[in-house]
Symmetry: C2
Amino acid sequence: MDAEEFRRAGHAVVDWIADYWATLGQRPVTSSDPPGTITAALPAGPPVHGEPVDAVLADLDRVITPGLTHWQHPGFFGYFPANTSGPSVLGDLVSSGLGVQGMLWATGPACTELETVMLDWLAGLLGLPERFHSAGRGGGVIQDSASSATLVATLVALHRASGGRWRDVGVDRRYRAYTSTQGHSSIEKAARIAGLGDDGVRPIEVDPDTLAMRPEALRAAIRADLAAGEVPTIVVATVGTTSTTAVDPLPAIGAICAEYGIWLHVDAAYAGAAAVCPELRWAHDGLEYADSYCFDPHKWLLTGFDCDAFWVADSAELVGALTVMPEFLRNAATESGAVVDYRDWQVPLGRRFRALKLWFVLRWYGVEGLRAHIRSGVALAARFAGHVLADDRFELAAPHPFSLVCFRLRPGDENDVRSGDEINAALLARVNGTGRVHLTHTRVAGRYTLRLAVGSPQTTGRHVDEAWDLLSATADALLTEPPPTTGRPPTTERPPTG
Amino acid sequence: MDAEEFRRAGHAVVDWIADYWATLGQRPVTSSDPPGTITAALPAGPPVHGEPVDAVLADLDRVITPGLTHWQHPGFFGYFPANTSGPSVLGDLVSSGLGVQGMLWATGPACTELETVMLDWLAGLLGLPERFHSAGRGGGVIQDSASSATLVATLVALHRASGGRWRDVGVDRRYRAYTSTQGHSSIEKAARIAGLGDDGVRPIEVDPDTLAMRPEALRAAIRADLAAGEVPTIVVATVGTTSTTAVDPLPAIGAICAEYGIWLHVDAAYAGAAAVCPELRWAHDGLEYADSYCFDPHKWLLTGFDCDAFWVADSAELVGALTVMPEFLRNAATESGAVVDYRDWQVPLGRRFRALKLWFVLRWYGVEGLRAHIRSGVALAARFAGHVLADDRFELAAPHPFSLVCFRLRPGDENDVRSGDEINAALLARVNGTGRVHLTHTRVAGRYTLRLAVGSPQTTGRHVDEAWDLLSATADALLTEPPPTTGRPPTTERPPTG
């Protein structure tokens, strides 16, 4: 495809996306087709001779978009959002067009330097401690996700805890990682990948009201492990847990980590973005104790997936843990010591030019534009929580400091054999089954709980109100229909064959 | 940015890329600016209020592109290429615009199913063994890079070698990985990440002529480790090593792995793409022994970075090694067992919709278009090798079965105090310093060797001939100028301050 063919086809694809966004709210949020529907609609192999882009775009409409979960839909309230925006898409498009592979400074100086500068901009925007800025010993890098950030933090922590021995001999002692019972599953996965095993992760209990880690429980677990000859290696504290956006008490946790010489990684994947607003920076109190920190601009800062921003306080330690230097990568710039080679800050070798999308987003929105987006999400969540509070049938299941609301229907009357869990699972399945919204669930203190997370730039008060009206009307039906007296009611979301 | 603003700005960005591609050959391949140049040209923080896209595009021209290494330039012959193409950029653009996060089948059914189908298409296109097709127990997935594929293979191999114990207790024995002395640095990095340590990797010696792994040396290393109570876990064989594109003998290696029950991963990151041409499939002989295999469409198959295609023969074993199921990801589709959740096939949780760019590329070029691209690369490399062979001052350093040529100047006359390594390093520094080409280097049998890798779709016979003319003329100057009699000549590429 030459430059002129690209120009023509590129305009058509841009128009396709603009039309998709303009009509997104009219689509069902999720597909109701059973597994295999898309597969069955595709040929068994590639064409022998090339086809025009128009043919692919036609199949995009015919086969692909009807089979999607539309994450950018104004009615998408599931998981945490992964929101993109026009400027992010354009920055990514420039990155794709340049096709630069920035594994070394030398293989793309501007790719590396813009990334360092963007991470410094973000550090300033969030008011992060000075230790993470590149002017000192610290610095930031883009990881694909908070999962990879946690893995990288775990690896440097092993390097430190072993006194450098881990690089040569691997995991030869019982290294231990700590996180609250509400910590993300990626912490367990990172420990498994790093060779600590699932047994290497100590789940620390939380306060029953705030769902935040109890520092005294952390200290007790560390002491018990030390007494047993195990090696406390890393604590992963969370600012905004996935289940309920609980905030672990960093000052107390940080002091314990400092006392025992344990690496502190702070995972603020979702909620970190809130710190662009000064009034929400309280969640980062104590962050000066952290050895590493991350948040995901791809969740709540209008930057398309993937873009996790990860900082360390001592980049030399990180590079020491991860670098491997084969002959074919040797170059004068690296040997001069004057440059950053980001390949040594991550698991893979190769790297895309992801800083461009951050640059486009930060410049298009500006500081005030980003703050307005965060404040809108918090306000919409509060609006939804207000609906919940005003309805006696429902209850809030946890505080909602950011833009996630956890709630549930209270159990039905004593004649209803359905448990609270069953009724709430049925409620979720029915509202999602309409295709007008998509919510997901969690368990809070063991109880099935619905989650509504606001994030899409297309979501307005009207969409939140409509979601509430739908939930309320569905609850009416659920609670007034004759309760089942035999058998089991549906307890899961719409089955995929439905 | 609303849909109409995106439409206008999107056309401008598409035009910017088309213009960039049309003028690429007129730019220097690399920047000659010292480290810090880009940083110094950027403001200290983001703007308070948003700026228009035009302002960002202007800075792209002013600050970013002059500071890049242009990987798509027709004169870029370094490393292995990472080539993109128009249809790949467009597929990626659609992916960015949809903003789907395909961690689960349920979070993007079409994202998952198109990926499975594209990996099946690729398996057919390359003539891979049936065991990797999704119709049976196998299947493919997109990883970011071959580094991550090797890591994932190492993790499943540990799961198998430990009888599943590794998941719970981690690395509690001395597990060992094997690769040739020419294996990629990512194998050492994967072993380090997985907790085996650098000592856990056994470098196996190669045949001095072919630079391919010697099977008898592999067997001896395995036996020695078994005798020492260690646990042979994974063999990584390479089809097309990074240094010289050597091809390890898979039939003999595979038989040894089968005999000892060791996981065989085949890393064909660069050269695997050649198998789209039936006449080049010989390099995959013996692949039926492999438990896992990968190649990078982002290297030599016109698909933008990142896109590594990774297959396993038994996907259940892979999922068993990597899955972690928190409540907030539970869903009916997963519990039905009828779907693939690709989050369990990789390190991170989240996933982009990368199958779209493969779909666009495979349909735009068709099978014959892709074959023509590979054949062009092989022919251009042969053309360059012909120039080397016809000039007595030069020699080929290794066979060139694909599109990489390894060559060097023979040492100067006996009065020249410069070593062959010094002269070749100076040759590389001087030709790269012109900005007209970019080559990189390796060492073959300890000797400094230049590498010329063809891959850009813009590279033609004229560019290869110009590269040769430049090398030849530079050699004239190097060999005829008075050799230094004191001090040390430059031995590295152009210093970054130059």
